[in-house]
Every structure is written in structure tokens, then in C-alpha cells.
Amino acid sequence: MNGEVRQVTAQDLLAEVGRLQAAGFDYLSLVTAVDFIAEDQIELVYCFYSIASRKGPVTLKLRLPRTAPRAPSLLPLFRSADLQEREIYDLFGVEFEGRPGIKRLLLWDTFQGHPLRKDFQPDDDDRPVIMDERRGQ
């Protein structure tokens, strides 16, 4: 990764972001996730820039377990986390603590699964129609 990279844990994420903010990094540009399925982990990536001093990026990386991943939400500190966290919740299934009522961003509310996970099985035409499902209606 270009620029400085810091590994953080879920416990000290908010403190580290607070320190960055105090050091003038006022612009949270990118929030995203990567599914490292071989290591059974999901990594959250945060890229910070400083608008005043033109510095950056400083990247924070946070590794979470793949089953039931939970991270603190950055929404109280950075509004730019709003839609990007919703997207990660939608496509990776990461829960964010501190922002109740989070909704999917791109997919519909009744959608099952999280497509950007590496083991996601798309519900495609190869799957036979099971008649019992239709009879039950």
C-alpha cells in the first residue's frame, strides 16, 4: 500500500482514528473491506487524508474474524463512513456497533447473503426450481 499503514484492533480503532483526527487528518476518503477467506478473516481498510496539510494517505487496517465480524462504526466521527459502512454491511456482512438500524445500501432488504464474500453462491439459472416451495404458497 502506498503511504503509511497501521494495523489496528477493533478495541483501539476509535482511539486511533481520534488521534489521527487530532493530528489534522480530517478527510476519511475510502472505507472498504477485503475478504481474506484463506486466513478466515475480513479486513477493513480506512484511507485518511489531511486537507489542510495535503498529507496522506494514512491507512488503517483492521482484521476481523470471518464469522460474525463486528467493528465499531466511525459514523460518530466521520459522516463519510455513512454510506460506505452501509455498503460493507450489505456486501460483506460486517456489523457496525454504534449505529443501530443499519440498512443495506445497494441490494434489496430481503436479499440473502453477502455477494462480495468469496464463498458467495449466486442464485442462478442452474439451480432447479423446487416444486415444493411453489406448492406451499
Partner: protein, 381 residues
Amino acid sequence: MDEHMSANAPAHDPELLDTDLLELSIGPQHPSTHGVFRMVAKLDGENIAALEPVFGYLHRCHEKIGESLTYLQNMPMTDRLDYICGPANNIAYAIAAEKLAGIQPPERAEYIRVIMTELTRLVNHLLLVGFLTNDLGAFFTPVLYAFREREKILDIFEAITGGRMCTNYARIGGVARDFPEGITAEIRTLIDAFPRFLDEFELLLSENEILQNRCVGTGVLAAAAAVNAGISGPVLRASGVNYDIRKADGYSIYPRFDFRVPVGQTGDTYDRYLVRICEMRESLKILRQALAGLPDGPVQAKVPKLFKPPRGDAYGRIEGPKGELGFYLVSDGSTKPFRYKVRPPSLINLTLLEEMCVGHKIADAVIILGSIDIVLGEVDR
């Protein structure tokens, strides 16, 4: 301006009859939403009390598809993000991939990329201003003037790349092919005639009473809120923040060019309109210098046919016409990206849409959305 327009929530007088808020769904199929975008507005009379944007109607798994294609196969896919600005998307993706593999494109390719990006910025801002006047009710007259000029630039794109909107032009380590003979003269003719068009366009619009009445003081976005919400590009600069990635990062060869960054004062819709007009004039300056300095030489660095970047990740970003357009790529050493993430400026610029619209009339929400500049191909991916 009357007072209640700027108030955040409509006041309820207990003496008066209490009325319910009306929930109105604008879009997804409505011309004012510039694509399949939906806004759920809660209306108090004609005033907006709450507004929720709804995304996803054009979601087509862009990033998931990106993981199943090779690095080069992803290049034409990037055209389909912000389909107004194909060349800029190509170049942003190429820059991210070059960061991943540590490749430096040759001089001439850098110049060609700058010329293509700035021409794209002209196309984008022309369309934005044209459609903004459409949203204001000037039905299609200014748009036609904007389209006439855009057409000339698209002809140049066609001569260079073979495509008018989906150009598929950049390559990892350079560009797909060199400029055809005589194209620099054509571009020079275009940019020599362009200021006269801009003057005429401004004469028609900038001091137009209706445009000013509707846009001045509408949808004010404060600088601190914009920075905190990750707003970028012309929308951020209209709010008075002097931040242009071409200056801040100095990527490619932008530090060599002499240009200034237009910055607004109040962050209202009028500022967002004016910043675009001024940016077009600055782009012309860059184009003139880039054409004058265009060196001879190869347009493609030596890159293996089968592009396999080393393990690692990289974030490459450019000052796209709509804002910070970035690509975050993770490589596992294979021919396909392990993770392919687009940082879409027009999605993140919508973060504060509700705050900008609340308290205004419903017709103002249409122009506030128009002045943010979204393309749904990029918002929903």
C-alpha cells in the same frame, strides 16, 4: 429570501390545524433524478421535511465481476461506471494498477492522459450545466448549446480511441494507441474556439435572473460538513475548500502545469454552477500547455502481456470531473485482482443530500441534486 426557507424543519403552530406529512417517492423513473435514483421525500405542503435517498436500482455487481476478469479485461468495464467520463475512469484505473506493480508510463503517454482527462472534464461540466438549466425549467435550450460543443469533443474521442463514450483508451503503463495524425491541430482549433462559446454561454446564464433567483442560497453546504462527509470535487470546492487532487497529490505530470483552483464562497447551488464554468476555463489552460509540451516517443511502457502484479494492495486516485475517483486493488499474485474496489465520488457526494434539501421546496431538491452531479452507473455500480 424569506425566513422559513432556510429553517431546518417546518415549524408547527399549535393554533393551526395539524396536518400530516405527505410521503412522496420521486423516482426511480423520473427525468429529474438523472437515472434510476429514488428520493423518498416527506413533504409539509411544498417544503421538504425529510428526504431519504434510495440506491441500488442500477447495481450490477461491478466489483464482483471485477474479481473474475483479468486486470486488462477490467479496463473496458470502467467505462461503464461514469459513462459520461469514460477516459477519466480508464486513466484512474490504470494509475491504480501501475501503483500496484510499480510501473512508470512514458512521458508522451502522461501528456496524452492529461489531455484526455481535461477534455473529459469539459464534456462532464458542459453536460452538468446544461442539465442543471433543464432542471430549472429552461427546457432543452441551453442543453442543446452544451451538446453542440460536447459533440465536437466526442468526435475527437472517436478519432483517437474509436469510441465516443466508452473509449477503453488507457492501458496499464500507457495508452492503447498514439494520437492519430493531425488530431493535435483539431484539439487546438477546438480549445481556441471554446472560450468564445463559454463567454456566450455565461452571457445566457450566469446573470440570468431566473437562474440566480433559484440557485443563490439554495442547498447551502458548509465547508466543515462537506470535509467531514468526504465530499470531493467541484461540490467540495464550491463550499470554499481549496482542495484539488491535481494540486494536493501532484500525480501524473500535473505539477508542470500552470492553473488555478476555482473555489466558491457560500456553497450554494449557484457556486456549484459557477465553479464548473471556471473549471472549464482552467482546463483549457492545462490543455493549451499540454499540447505545447507534448513530446515524441513511445506511448506504452514495457509491461508483460500477462500482467501479474506482485502481492499487495494499492489505492490510486485522480481528480475526476465529479470528484475523487479512486480504485483500491488487492493482488494475490495472480492475473486477476483479488479485490477490485471503486471509490465512487458521486455516491459519496450524496451523503449530505438530505441536509442540503430539508427546508427547501420540492422543486429546489431537483436542482440541488442536479448540481451535485451524479451518474447512476457509478453510484450503484
